[in-house]
């Protein structure tokens, strides 16, 4: 049981040790890469051991690190966590294997590896967390360490992307924290497994669940952002494109799943059996998969297409999570009605399995696809479709692995994506039929089903686009094409091994779902508020005509979209090659989020604050000017006195204005100086007069005169 604590803390310790050992070693990337491989291998073993120990996947045990971080950290093990722990460790292992060649010439590899290991530890912490505080604790660490992935290349574009990534990560983190505050102050516990009973008890007492929805939406802002859900996905395309390839692969394959994991826990623990929350998640999921798919089709950049594909697939997963919640509520509603209840639980199982298998599938597929993109980038030096064109010709290994992954995620039968998408699709269809015709939701569910198949078609379309670009078309520059075709040694053995390792399970899952996918899903059956509904083996005929029909519709849509959008629109002018057809002004990140949160809000807050800040100071100044009669600091005039200074200045100004009005050349007449000399003259004369005897006699005379007048007046 302490194995999982080891799995969480070991990468942190390894990161620090690694940094201490390698910080000054430039140009020894080989040794660093081998060290990384060893560390991730140890990590993989550490997370696999509990899997062997606990063959049923039932949750057990809780390990506490008392007092750490204030509330203490708590870890637990369950099948779901176990599967994702292993997947995480494996993903790190293969990306390290891949980086051995890819990052061989990188100067900052030590820094990259340091943050990479920290992120590994934090991700393990998230998956093994037993309460929301622990989850949040590691989620924040993960956000900050993975920031260095995005910023790694230190170009202007990566700095921009990293700025958005960090902004959304911090804002999302704070939103999660707000949610936790609310939950903690209301129900006083953050433990998974305890929370749901507390909330169920509160609701049964008639408490208004509005505050739980507020908390849940807050947490959605944080977890959804990491997953890449609409409308907090805005960081995703830039960050995925700018991060180095191994990091992008991890972002897409693992880190997005931590966000989904968080949302699943919110659905299971905070809002158990709340249908409205299910509808919310379903809506978010559908929008995410459609928006991601559309932007994926319209992008003219290899890596950005994959980034949007990631977003779209997360949309599928979120749709699945939404279906789980809806079905759980429905099953609970059928309680007592044995026949319907059984059926609903069965469909619920489909949604749970579909979601889970799609998460695993997406991780595998995206690891392959992004690493392929890395191989391309290492040789081509660009991700633009026009440059990449034709690179894959004559490279059978690349062809096979890419085709497996692309067709896999596209939902082509006999590959893995088909299994998970069929399960999800079935759960939607069955749910609609269980609802009956009259229900409010049934119309909506028909639309969801349609959009689900349409998004599947979009997946097919953009994957076809990438496949055609890479392997079918020839580059416009024939010299370049010849060079591409001559490159037989385009990737080292370790790189190929990394890609092959991830591509291998794809056909197995697709061909033998009963032996692979369903076993894994049964093991990873999410512990939930419906714990007593034990795992029900799902009864789906994957290769029955009804199941295949969905795939056929998707493929047909895909072909149509491909022809219309890619062939006819993006390639309208053949000479220019692929064009970006998505209108630039619809960039939400730049024109909405940055404009509002980086410019408008600070501006308004700044103005209000400036006013508040200066209220008292202004008041003091006013008082000094009026009541207190504050004098300006006394200073000596160089010549003359204050009167001559004022008059002289005023005359000068009047003359200046006169000249301006009369349009004459203005020459300073130095009135101030002249007046000062005048006044000095006058005062000097006065002084001479003052001191003379005649002045004395004169004053005596005046005195006599005044006396005379006085006497006259008195008499």
């Amino acid at each position: 049981m302490n194995g999982i604590v080891f799995a969480v803390l070991f990468p942190f310790a390894a990161a620090v040790l690694f940094w201490l050992l390698f910080r000054n070693q430039k140009g020894k990337n080989g040794i660093a890469a081998v060290t990384m491989l060893l560390v991730s291998a140890v990590e993989t073993v550490a997370v696999t051991l509990p899997l062997l120990e606990n063959v049923t996947g039932t949750p057990f045990g809780m390990v506490t690190l008392a007092g750490v971080g204030g509330l203490g950290l708590h870890f637990m093990y369950s099948g779901f966590r176990g599967v994702f722990g292993v997947l995480t460790a494996l993903a790190w292992f293969v990306t390290f294997l891949f980086s051995k060649e890819y990052m061989a010439d990188d100067e900052k590899v030590v820094r990259y590896d340091f943050f990479n290991l920290m992120t590994l530890g934090a991700t393990m912490g998230i998956f093994y967390a037993a309460d929301f505080f622990t989850l949040f604790f590691f989620f924040e660490i993960m956000s900050f360490t993975s920031f260095m992935w995005v910023a790694h290349r230190q170009t202007k574009e990566s700095a921009y992307a990293a700025g958005t990534y960090l902004g959304i990560a911090i804002a999302g983190g704070m939103a999660i924290l707000m949610g936790l505050f609310i939950v903690y102050s209301r129900i006083g516990t953050l433990y998974f497994g305890e929370m749901c009973w507390e909330t169920v008890a509160l609701i049964s007492l008639g408490e208004n669940p509005a505050w739980m929805y507020v908390a849940a939406v807050c947490m959605f802002a944080g977890f959804g952002a990491k997953a890449g859900a609409f409308p907090v996905h805005v960081w995703l395309p830039d960050s995925y494109t700018q991060a180095p390839v191994p990091a992008t692969a991890l972002l897409s394959a693992i880190l997005s799943k931590t966000g989904v994991f968080g949302l699943m826990l919110v659905s299971l623990e905070l809002l158990p059996l709340q249908g409205s929350w299910g509808v919310f998640l379903l809506a978010i999921g559908v929008i995410t998969m459609v928006v991601g798919g559309i932007r994926g089709v319209m992008s003219a950049n290899f890596k950005t297409t994959l980034a949007f594909s990631s977003m779209s697939q997360i949309g599928f997963v979120l749709t699945g999570v939404g279906m789980q919640v809806l079905l759980a509520e429905m099953a609970a509603g059928f309680y007592g009605d044995a026949g319907h209840f059984e059926e609903a639980v069965g469909v619920f199982g489909m949604a749970v399995n579909g979601t889970f298998i799609h998460m695993v599938n997406h991780s595998l597929v995206k690891l392959v696809l992004f690493m392929t993109a890395g191989v391309v980038f290492a040789r081509v030096g660009s991700y633009e479709l026009n440059k990449v064109r034709g690179f894959g010709r004559g490279k059978p290994f690349l062809l096979v692995t890419f085709l497996l992954a692309a067709a896999g995620v596209g939902g082509i039968p006999v590959l893995n994506g088909y299994i998970s998408k069929t399960l999800l699709h079935e759960s939607i269809v069955e749910y609609t039929s269980l609802l009956g015709d009259g229900a409010v939701l049934s119309g909506l569910m028909k639309a969801v089903e349609g959009l689900f198949l349409f998004s599947g078609g979009l997946t097919v379309a953009y994957m076809t686009k990438l496949f055609v670009v890479l392997f079918v078309e020839k580059n416009a520059d024939s010299a370049l094409q010849a060079k591409y075709e001559g490159q037989k040694q385009y990737a080292s053995l370790s790189t190929k091994a990394a890609i092959a390792l991830c591509a291998l399970p794809i056909p197995f899952i697709g061909l033998l779902p009963g032996l692979t996918a369903e076993r894994v899903a049964a093991y990873g059956f999410v512990r939930s508020e419906v714990e007593q509904w034990h795992y029900v083996p799902v009864d789906v005929h994957y290769f029955s005509p009804t199941s295949l029909a969905g795939a056929v519709i998707s493929i047909a849509v895909g072909v149509a979209v491909y022809v219309l959008v890619v062939r006819l629109w993006m390639l309208r002018r053949k000479a220019d090659g692929y064009r970006e057809v998505f209108p630039a002004w619809m960039n939400m990140e730049k024109y909405l989020y940055r404009a509002v949160f980086y410019t408008a809000v600070p501006f308004v807050l700044g103005i209000i604050s400036r006013i508040l800040d200066s209220i008292v100071d202004t008041l003091v100044v006013l008082l000094r000017r009026t009541v207190y009669c504050d004098r300006a600091l006394p200073y000596e005039l160089p010549e003359g006195n204050r009167v001559t200074h004022r008059i002289g200045c005023s005359m000068e100004r009047i003359r200046m204005i006169y000249c301006m009005i009369a349009r004459k050349e203005y020459e300073p007449k130095h009135y101030e100086h002249k007046l000062a000399i005048k006044s000095t003259d006058i005062f000097e004369n006065f002084r001479i007069i003052e001191r003379s005897l005649s002045f004395g006699l004169f004053m005596f005379c005046v005195g006599l005169g005044l006396t005379m007048i006085y006497l006259l007046v008195v008499n």
């Binding site: 007092g67 204030g70 983190g173 939103a175 924290l177 505050f181 807050l605 700044g606």
Partner: protein
């Protein structure tokens, strides 16, 4: 009598004045001055630790101002917490200044006032009744003013005048409150029992600090002056709030703190502002009693002022371009986290406030010392001029990054713990509106904090420097400057990961609310 309690108060003041009046020539060179100062720093700190440990006894009546009011010292847990904090930051900023002040004139004068301020602060921490506290509060303003005015420039003089103006305005408001409340103070016939002391035998004693309040509330109600009494308490809150940078009388803080030399800024922003917080805690929780204020308009208005201040401070810091001013605005904002927590008057929020007192003191001193180290080695002051320096000074910038994360409240650093208690305390308080506006404001402010602190770290590590040629000569600062920053950053991290002992200590103090 435990006259030993006076030692850490009196000795630094005496040494400080001696330094002030001694002729320059007494010290053979700068090193001689530093040796003497260093020894007196360490001795003063050691004496303070001696008193904090409790070995010097816990109460002392020095003399009586009037029959009922003695100048009285008492060493309790709250005083210990604050005094311990003062000692840590005093030593670190003091040693930091040994290098930093080599660039400034009148070093001797600086050290002497620094020591005097320390002595006065010790008096403030160990003050046992409101009048003694007020006395040292005024001394604190006077003693710290020369630190602000140190450079002697016109800007510094104006800032110091502003500092004095605001501080005295506040202090007189507080004094009015004391005059008013004095009439309702309980005269403890045998305060040895009431104050929980061991062998206290004075007969008359007013306005002493008793957990839960030492005013005769029955008398207040009987006299029919409840409203007036609330006004008086409110005036005291606003008055002492001046030192704590509370809106509307906060404007001195962002003017005065940045003009002082960096180690003095660290001491001002980290510690001296906490004097205001301590005075407020003593007034509300140990004199008036939280029960009297709970649910009144005073509590609501106080909370609203705190929310306004914390948002205002953060947004102004976000807009500010000069590093030290930015940090000063950040102090305004963070002190109001503490005030918001205090205004909630429940155990969780009170714990959060005290934790934030500790964390903010350490973090903000660290940040100001960091700013000082940068200004010392580069001579630049604007935030964007520090781009690319992280590669040359990695340890310094790493320390800065950790301190920043602490102030934002990102685990595993310390800030998140205090924020947790503050926010849950707010939500528990059940005051309509404020109970949820408070946490939201805290988080918005945290976002702004990230916005004004992190770009410096990110640009420091990842951006190209402004001036390549100049850039090459920069190195990590001298150990005397580097070590204090590193120690403060390490404390931020350690207190974040292992906060249990501190939380236990603070939790015991929060018993005043039960």
């Amino acid at each position: 009598m435990n006259y030993m309690i006076l030692l850490p108060v009196v000795l630094p003041v005496i040494v400080g004045f001696a330094l002030l009046f001694l002729h320059e020539g007494v010290f053979r060179d700068r090193q001689g001055l530093l040796n003497v100062t260093g020894v007196s720093f360490v001795v003063s700190a050691a004496l303070a630790v001696y008193v904090i440990s409790g070995a010097a006894g816990d109460r002392l009546v020095l003399f009586r101002l009037v029959d009922d009011i003695p100048v009285y010292f008492a060493v309790d847990d709250l005083g210990r917490l604050f005094a311990g904090l003062v000692v840590v930051v005093f030593l670190l900023a003091g040693f930091f200044s040994f290098v930093y002040m080599s660039h400034e004139k009148n070093e001797k004068r600086y050290y002497s006032f620094y020591l005097i301020t320390f002595g006065v602060l010790m008096g403030l921490c160990f003050a046992g009744n409101l009048v003694t506290l007020y006395l040292f509060y005024e001394f604190m303003t006077l003693a710290s003013m020369p630190l602000v005015i140190h450079s002697g420039s016109k800007e510094a003089v104006m800032a110091a005048l502003k500092y004095l103006f605001y501080s005295f305005c506040g202090a007189y408001m507080a004094l009015f409150g004391i005059y008013f409340l004095y009439r309702y103070a309980i005269v403890f016939e045998n305060p040895g029992d009431a104050l929980g002391g061991t062998y206290y035998y004075e007969t008359a004693h007013m306005m002493g600090f008793v957990p839960g309040g030492s005013l005769d509330m029955a008398a207040v109600v009987e006299s029919g002056n409840t409203t007036l009494c609330l006004v008086a308490v409110f005036l005291m809150l606003v008055g002492f709030g001046v030192k704590a940078g509370c809106f509307p009388l906060h404007a001195w803080l962002p003017t005065a703190h940045p003009v002082a030399p960096a180690p003095a800024s660290a001491f001002l922003s980290g510690i001296i502002v906490k004097g205001g917080i301590l005075a407020i805690i003593r007034t509300v929780y140990y004199c008036v009693g939280a029960d009297f204020l709970r649910g009144t308009w005073v509590q609501t208005v106080w909370g609203i002022l705190a929310v306004i201040t914390l948002l205002m401070g953060s947004s102004l810091a976000f807009k500010e371009k000069i590093l030290k001013k930015r940090l000063a605005y950040s102090t305004v904002s963070n002190l109001s986290y503490i005030l918001l927590g205090l205004s909630m008057m429940n155990a969780a929020a009170f714990t959060g406030s005290l934790l934030h007192v500790v964390f903010h003191a350490l973090i903000k001193s660290g940040l100001f010392l960091f700013a000082g180290a940068l200004i010392f080695s580069t001579g630049r002051v604007k935030v964007k001029e520090f781009a690319g320096l992280g590669k040359k000074m990695p340890i310094l910038f790493w320390s800065y990054t950790i301190c920043s994360l602490g102030l934002i409240g990102i685990p595993p650093t310390s800030g998140v713990i205090s924020k947790w208690y503050l926010a849950t305390g707010c939500l528990e308080s059940g005051i309509a509106g404020l109970s949820w506006i408070g946490p939201v404001a805290l988080l918005v402010s945290a976002l702004l904090t990230a916005g004004y602190l992190l770009p410096l770290a990110v640009n420091g590590f990842l951006k190209a420097p402004l001036d390549e040629k100049e850039h090459d000569k920069y190195r990590e600062p001298a150990p005397f400057m580097l070590v204090p920053v590193v120690v403060l950053a390490a404390a931020t991290l350690l207190l974040g990961v292992f906060p249990a002992p501190l939380m236990e200590f603070v939790g015991d103090i929060a018993v005043v609310l039960k």
